[in-house]
């Protein structure tokens, strides 16, 4: 199966719909050398902060740099694991609590590569992509999300 080697957009405006994810899974049914998929879905959590309760996260990014970095990470993960496919989607703009903001999808012949690659991708995306989450609170306030 061919590996995708060109920089591509990972950003979607607003939340990532469950239908998008279902469709993405279905798209792999023709790739019959795949034996395992691994999927990570990030969901916006209704955190209780001292300043108020989180209603949504408003995501912004330094898009050009983020896409360059995402491409670099993607190449590194493809080089490290025997993957068939890799897909990354990250939200921009407002995503309400309970909605999905990150979709990472890896596929390989055998499960281990897909699972390990997915895990490493999520960690690197959170640590290395210039993306910021502004947590909108029920008190008309906001706080800037901190990744732990």
């Amino acid at each position: 199966m061919e590996k995708e080697r060109k920089p591509k957009n990972i950003f979607v405006q607003g939340s990532i719909s469950p239908e998008t994810i279902a469709k993405s899974i279905a798209n792999h049914s023709t790739k019959t050398d795949i034996g395992g998929h691994s999927i990570f879905l990030g969901q916006v959590r209704a955190d209780e902060k001292p300043e108020g309760k989180v209603l949504a996260i408003d995501y912004s990014a330094y898009e050009e740099m983020a896409l360059e970095k995402a491409f670099e990470i993607r190449e590194a993960i493809f080089a490290k694991y025997p993957l068939t496919c890799m897909h990354i989607y990250h939200s921009l703009g407002e995503v309400k609590v309970g909605e999905l903001c990150l979709f990472v999808f890896t596929s390989s012949k055998h499960r281990k590569a897909a699972m390990d690659a997915c895990d490493e991708l999520v960690e690197r995306i959170k640590a290395e992509l210039p993306v910021w989450g502004k947590e909108i609170l029920d008190t008309d306030n906001h706080v800037w999300k901190v990744n732990v």
Partner: protein
Amino acid sequence: MPNTIHIKAFGMVAEKIGTTELVMDHYQDSEALLDALLVKFPALKTIKFSLAINKKLISNKQEIPENAEIALLPPFSGG
């Protein structure tokens, strides 16, 4: 064309300085620029941020090329 630096600000940094884009005179290196920024925007002293030159994160003092694009990046919090 005068030699300038284009600066983009993101997240909490943009909030602190009240703009997402500004143009400044050219500074020789990242340390000189940082000093100038802290004088211009004292509020930046209270937060943590990194510099990127032409979309590359820098960790040490670095030369600034002519007409560079600089970005002021608070700690990342994607995902």
